[in-house]
Symmetry: C2
Subunit: 212 residues, 2 copies
Amino acid sequence: MQIISSSTIQSWERFYRANFVNSLTGFKSVSLIGTINQKGQPNLGVFSSVVHLGSDPALVGYINRPIQAAPHTFANIQSTGVYTINHIHPSFLEQAHQTSAKYPDEVSEFDEVGLLPEFLEDTLAPFVKESKVKYALTLEEIIPIKLNNTFLIIGKIQHVKLEEDIILADGFLELDKAESMCSNGVDGYYTTQLIDRYQYAKPGMKTKKIKF
Amino acid sequence: MQIISSSTIQSWERFYRANFVNSLTGFKSVSLIGTINQKGQPNLGVFSSVVHLGSDPALVGYINRPIQAAPHTFANIQSTGVYTINHIHPSFLEQAHQTSAKYPDEVSEFDEVGLLPEFLEDTLAPFVKESKVKYALTLEEIIPIKLNNTFLIIGKIQHVKLEEDIILADGFLELDKAESMCSNGVDGYYTTQLIDRYQYAKPGMKTKKIKF
């Protein structure tokens, strides 16, 4: 095994360093965030920083990069207070990645990459029709992270739309069956294979697998 | 597909709701966080909320649950300012999950579950010897999330120790080759399979795969 110091990491060329540091934190969720601006123009972007914050209330966070680097999703959420998070599957992976290109504000990534916007219930923001697991959120709080000018955007889960055959009897979702993907680094996309689920662990008790 | 409203989610029994909401956000990194207290007592806990914040400086966040629910890791990071993040692999998955049991403060999870603490360079906090990808962090900031009494803990990457044969020429880490795992829900653990890497996307250019 190799040991690498922080000064070595700091000395690297910036794309090499970005690839390395983005991989080091491990696999991450990867989703398309759908928003709309005040003129009714839809926007779609790929994000790999969605993080579960709590189940009661059901709160979800994501990290928005500095505003100059990622302005549209942030501005639309600020102005409308609503957004959608849509899982990505292999059937539209290439389109999902292409949403990361820097399109001008007046362009809809849905049109450019070839994905269908879908409007559900009273949610203003567009969902991705092709996605099998998706949910709407209302903005709760934007927390600035001053260390590097990023933001933690916190939303509360509203409507959820998903394929019902992936919900198990205990509420767990078989995301591998839905072929929801995860990512690594800035550009690697993966499917998954379940190894095991384990029962709630207690001191002095043997770890037990959940059979289902 | 099924549509579920926020009031339905709120009405569910709490374990069902926790399973559902924890799965809804998609696959996530899963790691062991190693810390030590002022008396030299090591602590180890499993966390699935690690999130990449930036590469320059190299900043990593994780969400700590309310202090009563997850006190030891938080207290040790506050008092020593240092911690390690260690990837989990199938060879010690059961031990990794077992660290989630609520052991008393004076007990080392390393001893209880059967993992080996490893001390590297000048880092006070223990690494997990069995892990193939691991890194030390120094505490930069603790941001309270008042909405649900959780915390965003932000650290700066220091030493990294990893298997050198997973580093590609562009800095990307082949985490699937190292069998780093990801998780879903509160208790599901997965390995992954690379589908593709894609080149930096630009408007008007066809999405291209990275060959390596």
